[in-house]
Amino acid sequence: MTNVPPLSSPTREIVVEHVTHRFPGGLLAIEDMSFRVRAGEFVVIVGPSGCGKTTILNIIAGLIAKQSGAVAVGDGAPRAGRSDVAYMFAQDALLPWRRVMDNVLFAVEIQGASRQDRRVLGQAKELLAMVGLQGFEQAYPRQLSHGMRQRVALARTFLMPSPLLLMDEPFGALDAHTKLMLEQGLLRLWESSQRTVLFITHDLAEAILLADRILVCTARPGRIKCEIEIDLPRPRSISALQNDARYHEYYRRIWAELGTEMEV
């Protein structure tokens, strides 16, 4: 894991203060949301669907303009295309005409890396191996399963030397087994670098496995209802957590918080 790309700059924090956002139709998506992600921290936001989780991520990424409140990413305002922020979506967003290797290189290419750069190519190869896609460098996306495509997207994201990582339900559409594999892969990648991660999910088990801290979001309009520090030792593995009473205690607590938000 020595060859994992070094980060382009020291990790920074994300500060969100009193952000309120209304959709063009008048629907209030987020109301007075405040939270902070410290440098190097892995923070997971969980909440019922439609609570504005993706909206706040899009605001932090600079893809939609903030309407009120304050948002700081590192020492600057959010802006799309910042090289210190990497954004991974629920969809793999692979380019169908590029082979796997060329897709992995796409993001760094846009940010100015050369395709001929041996070091970058080596890192890309290593990342593909880490997500279990060794030997698939020359395959086209259409030849891969859903889970494999999302792993390519994961490798593309981690090839970017961005210290800040935004992840919008990246494993949400995968089957349970593939999901566990990718979560473990993500943890390994994260532990080997010093990134700050803001991760969105509605899967509680996933949240507890990954997070330093979990923010529970209310139903629409979204607000941060409470935050829960996950004090479990790292490196974590899902099988070890299954035998840990604290894991189940966290699960119960968060479920209770969320349960009042979801009318089942």
Binding site: L63, G81, A93, P96, W97, G135, T178
Partner: protein, 286 residues
């Protein structure tokens, strides 16, 4: 992952999946042979029925001729009559197709880049495109004479719009998640255009080009039928005036063969250029 094993991308594997892409079934060469034999059988059965109905006397040979008379005409006039006229028709078709392709793609790109202009010219485009082209033919003949130029003009008036529309549609329906990726990575407009939008539109442009090729051919033949010195369309008009059904059917047969050849060549080129990333996984896996 269990499906990982299927994608061992060694040279052998690639060769195998290539083969599978072409036939789609296991037992490759046998099923391909069956396919061609089946097609031949359909053709033979058609000829037998044709020959039979004339022989029995259900239809007069004046109206449908006979398979033998058609074959006879083809043999007797192939090099001196059919080939030179076919070359003339095909030459006009290719010129019209090339012009339609270049102008259609450029116009499509222009309209995507200038949405204001697109809104302005939209009703005119619709009006021009919905005009019955055969009604334009006399005008083109008046303007361009009865040689190459008027045929090309009529064919171009068909092909151009087809390519224009498919280019425009291809660029407009780019997957929104790719545009989101492009924005989040900070692609410049030029980068987004060359790295995402343009490649995305290629399959759509290509299917437009395939259609334009066939329509160019139709346009040229139509123009020849109205007035021309040379060409397959002109031959058809000449022989139908003489009530020579054997000749008319023989020429129609040649035209059909040209159209099939066009389609097959275009499909081959498309598959070679784009097949690796556009064909569905099912057909690739066999």
């Amino acid at each position: 992952m269990d499906d990982d094993r299927k994608h061992n991308d060694g040279p052998l594997e690639r060769k195998r999946s290539r083969l599978e892409q072409q036939g789609g079934q296991p037992g490759q060469s046998r099923s391909l042979l069956g396919l061609y034999a089946g097609r031949l059988a359909i053709l033979a059965a058609f000829c037998v029925v044709w020959w039979g109905v004339v022989r029995i006397g259900w239809v007069g040979s004046l109206f449908v001729s006979t398979p033998l008379a058609v074959a006879d005409f083809l043999m007797g006039n192939f090099t001196k009559l059919i080939v030179p006229n076919a070359i003339d028709t095909l030459f006009a078709t290719l010129i019209a197709f090339a012009l339609s392709g270049v102008c259609g793609v450029l116009a499509g790109l222009l309209l995507v880049e200038l949405p204001g202009m697109k809104r302005m010219v939209d009703p005119f485009l619709t009006a021009l495109n919905s005009m019955p082209r055969i009604a334009l033919a006399p005008i083109f003949i008046l303007w361009f004479g009865i040689e190459l130029a008027s045929k090309v003009a009529l064919a171009f008036s068909l092909g151009f719009f087809i390519v224009l529309m498919s280019t425009f549609a291809g660029i407009r329906n780019v997957d929104p998640v790719l545009l989101r990726l492009s924005r989040s990575l900070g692609c410049s407009p030029w980068q987004q255009f060359t790295r995402i939008t343009l490649p995305w539109a290629v399959p759509s442009v290509f299917s437009g080009l395939k259609l334009a090729l066939i329509y160019s051919f139709l346009g040229v033949v139509t123009s020849e039928m109205l007035a021309s010195k040379l060409g397959l369309g002109q031959l058809i008009m000449y022989y139908s005036g003489l009530l020579r059904m054997d000749a008319v059917l023989a020429i129609l047969l040649v035209m059909a063969a040209c159209a099939v050849a066009f389609t097959m060549i275009a499909d081959r080129i498309e598959s070679a250029l784009l097949g690796s990333w556009t064909e569905s996984p099912q057909s690739a896996r066999g």
